[in-house]
C-alpha cells in the first residue's frame, strides 16, 4: 500500500516537473486544455495539439508585455 502511494507521488512529481519545464518556455498543458474544453464547452471542437502548440508560441513571442526578464 505504502509502496503504491510512493510510486504514485513519484509519478506526480515527474509530471509536475515536466509541466513546469514546459511552462517555462510558454507551452501550456494540452491535456488540461482538452479536459477544460470537454467539460465547459462540449459544443466546441478543441484545437489539435499542433494548433495548440502554435498558439502557445505566438502567445509567448508575439504578445505584448511578454514573457521574461532580459536581465
Amino acid at each position: 500500500m505504502s509502496d503504491n502511494t510512493t510510486r504514485l507521488s513519484a509519478g506526480l512529481v515527474i509530471s509536475r516537473l515536466a509541466q513546469s519545464f514546459r511552462l517555462m518556455v510558454g507551452v501550456r498543458d494540452y491535456v488540461g486544455y482538452v479536459r477544460h474544453m470537454q467539460q465547459q464547452h462540449p459544443e466546441l471542437t478543441p484545437m489539435t495539439e499542433k494548433a495548440f502548440h502554435r498558439y502557445c508560441i505566438d502567445a509567448r513571442y508575439l504578445g505584448k508585455g511578454g514573457g521574461r526578464c532580459p536581465c
Partner: protein, 688 residues
Amino acid sequence: MRNVKTGVIWSAVAVIGAGAFAMLALSRGEHVNALWLVVASVACYSIAWRFYSLFIARDIFELDDRRRTPAERYNDGLDYVPTHKWVLFGHHFAAIAGAGPLVGPILAAQMGFLPGTLWILVGVMLAGAVQDFLILFISTRRDGRSLGEMAKQELGAFAGVVTMLGALGVMIIILSALALVVVKALANSPWGLFTIAATLPIALLMGIYMRFIRPGKIAEVSLIGFVLMMAAIIYGGDIAQHPTLGPFFTLDGTTLTWVLVIYGFIASVLPVWLLLAPRDYLSTFLKIGVIVGLAVGIVFAMPEMKMPALTRFTDGSGPVFSGSLFPFLFITIACGAISGFHALVSSGTTPKLVERESHIRFIGYGAMLMESFVAIMALICASVIEPGVYFAMNSPAALIGTTVETASQAINGWGFVVTPEVLNGIARDVGEGSILSRAGGAPTFAVGMAHIITEVFNSRAMMAFWYHFAILFEALFILTAVDAGTRACRFMVQDLIGTVVPALGNNRSWLGNIAGTSVAVAGWGFFVYQGVKDPLGGINTLWPLFGIGNQMLASMALILGTVVLFKMKKQRYAWVTLLPTAWLLITSMTAGWQKIFHPQPNIGFLAQARKFSAGIENDTIIAPAKTLADMQTIVLSNQINAALCAFFMLVAVTMLIAAFFVIRRALNSDQPTVHESDTTLRNEASHV
C-alpha cells in the same frame, strides 16, 4: 509546546546564520570557505521567508484563499489556468532569472566579497522580494493587468505613459549592455564564436523539426539540440586551430558588433518558431541546469574564496567600474538584490495562472529569494579565482595594457600578486589566446565555474570544455534576450508610429516591421558600438547606466505599490514599501547625479566629454581614440549618456510627484479607493 519548539528551531537558524557571518567578516588575512557564504545566505532567506513575508501576506495584503483568482474566474484552459504552485514557481523563477544576477555581483567583487554579499542579502529581503511579491499581488487582484495599465489606473494616464517610456529606455540600455558582454567574451575567441555560431543552424533544425515533424515534443527536440551543442563545444577547439576556419572565426570587437547588429535585425524579423523559440528552449533549460549544477558543485567542491572581504577599491578608484561604494555598489548589483524588470514579469503571465491567493507569497517572494541565491553563487565564482586574475580579466586595456607583462605589472602595483606566467597558464588552460580585459562578467563567471567544476572532478583536463560551456550558456541566453527584446522594442516603437501613421502600426505591415526593427536595433546597436570605442571599456559606462535605469523602474513599481497601500487604507504599514523606495531613490539619484556631473572624467559623462573636446581643440589624440572622428564619437556618446541618465532621473521624479498627489487624496478619503476587481468568494473556507 509547539510555539516553544518553533522558537528553538528559529533561534538556532538565527545563531547559525550569525556564526556564518562572523566567519565571513572576522577572518581577516586568511581565506574563507565559500560554504560559509552559502550558510549565511540560506539562514537569511529562511528567516525573511518565515517571518517577514508572512507578516506582509497576513497583515498587509490579507491574502484570502476564499477570493477567486483571475485564473479561476476567467479559466479558458489557455491563458488563464489555475496552476499548481510548484509548477508556477518554476515558471516564474525561469522568467525572472537572467544574466543580470551573473554580471552585477561579478563586477562588484572588485570591492571584495563582503559589500556585495550584504547588499544582495539585505536588498532582497527588504526590497527585491517585497517588490516582486507586491506587484504579483496587486496584479492578481486586478485580473492580471500589466504594470503600465496599473500605473495608468491608479496614478493616471500620464504616469502610465511615463512608466512605459522609462521601461523602453531601460530595455534599450540593458540590451546594449548585455550585447557588449557577448562582444567582450567572443572578441578574438574563435572557439567561443564558433560554438555560438553553431547554435544558429542547430536552432533552425530544431525549429523545423518542431513545426512540421513532431510539434509539441519539447523534451525530445531540446535533447537533440543539447547533444549537437555539446558536440559544437568539443569540436570548437579543433576549429580554432584550423588554418583557414580559425582566422575566419577570429573577429575583433568592432567587426563583432556589426555582425551582432545585422544578426539582431535578421533574427527579429524571422518567424518566431524558426529561430527564437528553439533557442529560447535551449537557453532556458541550460540556464536551469547550470544553476542547479553550480549549486551542487559549490557544496561538493567547498572552494576557498581568494578575494579578500574588502579591497582598497571601496574608495572609488577601482578599475572594473569607477565610483565609490556609496552609491555605486547599489546600482551595480541590481538583479539579485532588486530589479525593476521583475515588476514587468510579475504583472505578465504569472498572475493569470495563480491558483490561490496564498500562493502569491511563495511564488512572488520565494522565487526572488532563489534569484538572489544565483547572485550569491556568481559572487562566489568571482571570489574563488585569484584576485590578480580577476583584475586582469575585468580591467580595461587603458589601465593594464594589452600584454600579460604590462597587466601583471599594473596589478602588482595595486597590491595583488599575479605573474605573466599565471595569466598565460590560465589562458592556455581554458583554450584562449588571452584572458585580458574580458570585462562583463561572462568570462570571469566561466573561469570561476570551470575552477569549481575541475575541483569537483579533480582534473584540469576538462577546464577548456567547462569554460566554453559557461560562455556558450551566457551568450546563448543573452542573444535570446536580445532577439526577444528587439521584438518587444519593435512593438513599442510600432505602437508609437501607429499613432501617427496607422498603416505602419499594423503588426502585419512589412514596412512597419522593418521600420520598427530598424529603430530598435539602431538604438541598442549605437550603445554597443560606443561601448566598443569607449576609453573606459564600455561595461564601465553602460552597466551603471543600466543599473540606474533598472533601479528607477524598481522605485516606480514600489511607488505604485505604496500608492496602492495608501488606497487600501493600510498606511500604517506603508514603511514596508517606503523604506526600500527611499533607499533606491537616494542611491540611484546620487549615482545619476554623479554620472552626469562628477568632475572626474572616469565617473562623470560631461567631464569625459569635456576632456575629449578639449583634445579635439588642441589637435591631440587621446587613447584609445585613433582619429579626430573617434574623438568626436566619444564626445557625442558621453553627451547622449548624460541625457539618458537625466531622462531616467526625470521619470522617477515625475512618478514621485504624481504619487504624492494621489496619496494625499487617498488619505483624505475615509474608505479604501483601490481599483481592485470585484471580489467573488468561493464557498469553501481556508486561510493563509
